[in-house]
């Protein structure tokens, strides 16, 4: 599988994952944190998952008990972690949480 297209928004998504590489994020959380519409975030997540940079699984809750649909949680893979770091380093983008925001 070739590397996915790295648009500006894709890099933003990757940087978000690199801030907390072990954290599992739902599509809705990513939209909220980046302030983008679903139409932007979901195709990126699916593309990164097809390239095996991300892996995803359903949240372990019962939708009836939780009173809401399950979330699909995404996490960086080892490949994704290395590739994302390379991609951001290549562009000179600082990875991880910015001191300003921490």
């Amino acid at each position: 599988m070739p590397d996915p297209r790295l648009s500006h928004e894709t890099l933003r998504v990757l940087r978000l994952f690199l801030e907390e590489p072990r954290e599992r994020l739902a599509g809705s959380d990513i939209c909220k944190r980046l302030g983008v519409l679903s139409g932007t975030a979901y195709p990126i997540l699916m593309r990164l998952e097809r390239a095996a940079w991300l892996e995803s699984e359903w949240e372990e809750v019962d939708p009836r008990e939780a009173g809401r649909p399950r979330k699909r949680l995404y996490r960086l893979t080892a490949l994704g972690y290395n590739k994302a770091r390379q991609a951001l380093a290549g562009l000179g983008v600082p990875e991880g949480r910015l001191a300003w925001n921490s």
Partner: protein
């Protein structure tokens, strides 16, 4: 009048606002129906969770509307991935096809050169045989009974030479037929390969410039995938094991028979 108009506008606004959740749901379902079947359930649940988490119904509609774009982008990405995979498969097939072409050409050249050298050697052997027969006839002239035997042997040798001629012709014909069949298969494979390459290039062009509906393009890509799978089988048969070939089996049978005749003569 103004009072009535304001009441009417208020009613319409309230009605519209009340319909917004339904519209958002309808847009979401429309987007879900546009992604490929295997992703539908996942997208439905994931997108529902996202829309439910949004506080405002207007924002929800805007976000649901953006899902139509998401479905389009996801379809385009899937088509792109499929085309990339098909490209690799086509390159591999093209390599195999070229290798097969080379093999058949080499086999054809080998056949003609073998045939030529065999015929030359055979003509020399025939000439030597005739000369030695003549010498034997001369030598056996004083002994009539021996001469009779020599003449009988000459007849047998002539018959054997004729049989060899016939068997060579038959073998050559069968080999030519077999090579011809492989050449036809190679040519047919090449035509299909070219057609598929053109279809691939056109699908890629359509995808690049979004010239056709992605759903239609997805079906074209699926069609292309089927054709490539068929071609993979055809190209595999292009190079089918010659041992399975009927003419070659016939050729082996004749060679065996010829060897037996040779052995019998030696005995």
């Amino acid at each position: 009048m103004e009072f009535l108009a304001s009441i009417l506008v208020a009613i319409i606004v309230v009605e519209l606002y009340a319909w917004l959740p339904k519209i958002a749901e309808w847009l979401r379902e429309l987007a879900v129906s546009r992604v490929r079947a295997e992703d539908r359930e996942r997208c439905r649940e994931e997108w529902k969770e996202r829309l439910n988490g949004l506080p405002n119904t207007v924002i929800r509609v805007v976000d649901a509307f953006s899902l139509l774009g998401a479905a389009r982008q996801i379809n385009a990405d899937v088509c792109e991935d499929k085309l990339a995979e098909l490209n690799t498969r086509l390159a591999h097939l093209s390599d195999i096809h070229h290798r097969n072409c080379r093999k058949v050409k080499e086999a054809e050249q080998l056949f003609w050169s073998n045939r030529e050298s065999r015929d030359t050697r055979f003509r020399c052997a025939e000439k030597d045989l005739q000369e030695s027969n003549l010498r034997l006839l001369d030598a056996s002239a004083p002994h009539p009974s021996l001469q009779m035997s020599v003449k009988r042997m000459q007849e047998l040798t002539d018959n054997f030479v004729k049989t060899l001629h016939v068997s060579f012709e038959r073998t050559d014909h069968l080999m030519e037929e077999m090579i011809g069949r492989h050449v036809i298969k190679i040519k047919e494979g090449e035509i299909v390969l070219r057609e598929i390459l053109v279809a691939y290039a056109s699908a890629k062009h359509l995808l690049r410039y979004r010239l056709k509906s992605l759903r239609f393009l997805a079906s074209s890509v699926a069609d292309l995938e089927t054709k490539v799978s068929q071609l993979e089988m055809d190209i595999d048969h292009e190079n089918e094991c010659p041992e399975n070939d009927e003419p070659l089996a016939e050729y082996n049978r004749i060679s065996g028979a010829r060897a037996s005749v040779g052995n019998a003569r030696r005995l």
